[in-house]
Symmetry: none
Subunit: 215 residues, 2 copies
């Protein structure tokens, strides 16, 4: 389950076997944030950057990131289809009704995506010095895309060069900003409000706090 609350999750902390990648809560959070922010299908170069960021919290490869998005997109779409299907059940006797399905374009509407957390907005205290910090949504500060990459027109700050094939944002959440500080310098992280999701077994430090507001 995604809940991941508490308990174990054998990361690589000192694991003997590593068969398949097991994303840590922080990593999931980040990925989820990116996804929910609209980047549902990051182009390759973005994938690499994302991977680097995630690496702060644990071993991960580009392929893992790639697969993650692919699966996320896929399952998200499928869930949607299902929901929609069951909704249309209301009018069974009818005719074609919604049969056509939304195919790729369905209008997704909000709904829980990540399982238990629900719409949320995470905000990290500021981390300042992380080797590479990501900043989602935000306003200013255009990301200094190295290499000048894509001047992305979207006012956002997310490179966003790709094509996002999904209606995106399947939930109303709005992340205000996320910064990842290096796990090693956990220095300034304080719980600010409520929820504080699972993150539980987090490596031990950091990032375990995030403020999320339901909205």
């Amino acid at each position: 389950m995604e809940d991941s609350t508490s308990s174990n999750q054998s990361c690589e902390r000192n694991e003997p076997v590593r068969s398949r990648w097991n994303p840590k809560p922080e990593q999931i959070l980040i990925l989820e944030s990116i996804f929910n922010n609209g980047m549902v299908n990051p182009p390759k170069d973005e994938t690499v950057r994302i991977r680097k960021i995630l690496e702060q919290f644990g071993t991960v490869g580009d392929a893992n990131v790639f697969y993650w998005f692919q699966n996320r997109r896929s399952r998200s779409r499928r869930r949607q289809r299902q929901i929609q299907a069951s909704l249309s059940a209301v009018e069974v006797g009818g005719e074609q009704s919604a049969s056509a399905t939304s195919s790729r374009g369905g209008a997704i509407q909000f709904h829980t995506s990540t399982a238990n957390v629900g719409p949320l907005s995470i905000s990290f205290p500021m981390a300042a010095t992380a080797p590479s910090s990501y900043l989602l949504l935000g306003s200013s500060s255009s990301s200094s895309s190295p290499g000048g990459a894509v001047g992305n027109a979207n006012d956002g700050l997310f490179p966003f060069s790709g094509q996002m094939g999904l209606p995106q944002v399947e939930q109303n959440s709005s992340i205000s900003s996320i910064l990842c500080s290096s796990p090693t310098d956990n220095a300034n992280l304080h719980y600010q409000t409520g929820i504080n999701i699972a993150l539980a077994q987090v490596p031990k430090i950091i990032c375990a706090n995030i403020v999320l507001n339901y909205k």
Copy 2:
């Protein structure tokens, strides 16, 4: 949830429904052999011939063969790229491995297909007269490579009309020869040795009839 009810995966032996082609181990072996022998991009006519051969082991269409090679090529290239990339990662921060990190070599794990069986050698009886027998000859150990020049493995006898744009042979196995006889006139197709590995569900690794030495 995704269990999908049946674990089916099988073949056509008694199929309920078959939507997508599910290559059998023997078929995979053959395809793999051909590919590893240098023919990474068979021209149309070759594709047809290959299909016929594969058909001895199960239903398959030209398109399947075509797709197979296409995907194989594509993924092979990608894997290659990944590996390459991760290797070069060793000089970024300045500290090599330390980054800890990537353990795993930072690398992605794309399973390599061949790994678990260990040295093995499967061998098939040689059946000589199949309607259309394919014979791949590897450049393997046997001295055949004259001059040892770069010579691609093609010294063999494979038509080889295509262009092979790949480095080819990404795995260590070297097939020395493969003959496919029609199961229907099974006459001479008997699994002869014990090994006969799992063919079972083995998606990767292959085996069936062929003499291959892991090296």
